[in-house]
Symmetry: C2
Subunit: 195 residues, 2 copies
DNA sequence: CGCCGAGTTGAACTGAATCAAGAAACGTGG
DNA sequence: CCACGTTTCTTGATTCAGTTCAACTCGGCG
């Protein structure tokens, strides 16, 4: 059973009959990828929205100096996609990569549009996802504009406590927009304050 | 005629008959506010999506140290709203304020939902707006994560050349996430490179 | 055992913030 | 149309958060 979480997620987020959920789930392609695999590369047009059934993904960019910047992590029960690229059929600026062996469900844009037409409930659901995404992005911008490295770290561990234990610190640093060395120092500071 | 731009905007962005556009426009409330007026305050639930017919708005937050951070500007032909707050009926973290005497059209969430139901074209239109918004927010995050003050400034003047002339530099600095003094120095640097 | 990647620590450096003061531009009322 | 006060912009001196570079530690794993 590779779509357990997805079925659950739909059930608890859409007002919809079980038959429709079965229908949706069955039309989704399941993909099992191993750690390191890329599901999207910079320059490609994003073809799918991914739902993480099991495992962990990251979305990141590489800047002009060759540095990686993580835009977001996606653990179990998260959707991830370059919505802009997928919707506007533009080349993406991002990579999506598996940080662990991961099982994802693939929803392509055509299927999303189709479901939105035949099922008002699904339409509503997708709308909710979009607004949720916007909410997250806005929070992230506010953080980057107004919080120090330490504040951003504290915010991170509150929001994503489990991810801290699943990825090397260097990736958390990349998400926070600081160097691994700086993150190490922030953590040291905090540990001393604890005492 | 207070909805000239809005009518134009709809006409060129939706595949829809003129009668429907008339209908939409007539149901929208026009509001003329003077410079300084707040259309949304931190803590309020955002009730409207605003379309800027004439003038200029800003969306900003105030952090724990009392500093302002501009999330986005909205000149003519732009929509602005705290989509998250409006959709989820949550208190907003942001202010929306007029930087010039401004004419806006108000679309409330109920009206948006209604139109989305009766007009597939409008639904599609709103979807486009949402995706566009996501695209912008993502670009902004990438900028904040990977670009220096100077690079962000150059990016800004390329994206919003007119706004530079319409607001004090101190607000541009706030958008870029730097102090007014730093922006002044960045500009000085660039002027010297020009020579 | 020895290597290797992840994390830590130190020292020097740097981009931007802060604080402070002066110059320029602006609008409002007389 | 000028005068005055207010806001905006610039410049300098200093400080600071975070980067960079380099060396070292630690824990796994072949």
């Amino acid at each position: 059973m590779n779509s357990f979480r997805f079925t659950n997620f739909l059930t608890s987020n859409i007002e919809i009959d079980q038959a429709m959920i079965e229908h949706i789930v069955q039309k989704c392609v399941t993909k099992i990828v191993e750690k390191g695999t890329f599901l999207l590369q910079q320059g490609d047009i994003c073809q799918h929205t991914f739902f993480v059934e099991h495992g962990l993904l990251r979305q990141f960019s590489i800047d002009s100096k060759g540095k990686e910047h993580i835009i977001q992590f996606a653990p179990e029960n998260w959707f991830i996609s370059d919505r802009g690229s997928q919707y506007f059929k533009q080349p993406s600026s991002y990579f999506i990569q598996a940080l662990e062996d991961t099982t994802v469900l693939l929803l392509d844009e055509a299927f999303i549009l189709h479901l939105s037409k035949v099922s008002p409930a699904f339409l509503e659901f997708n709308n909710k996802l979009l607004h949720n995404h916007i909410l997250h992005l806005q929070t992230r911008i506010t953080q980057l504009l107004s919080a120090t490295a330490e504040e951003r770290y504290l915010h991170f561990i509150k929001m994503y406590p489990d991810i801290l234990w699943r990825v090397p610190q260097t990736l958390v640093a990349s998400y926070l927009g600081i160097t691994p060395e700086s993150l190490s120092r922030v953590r040291k500071e905090l540990a001393q304050k604890q005492k």
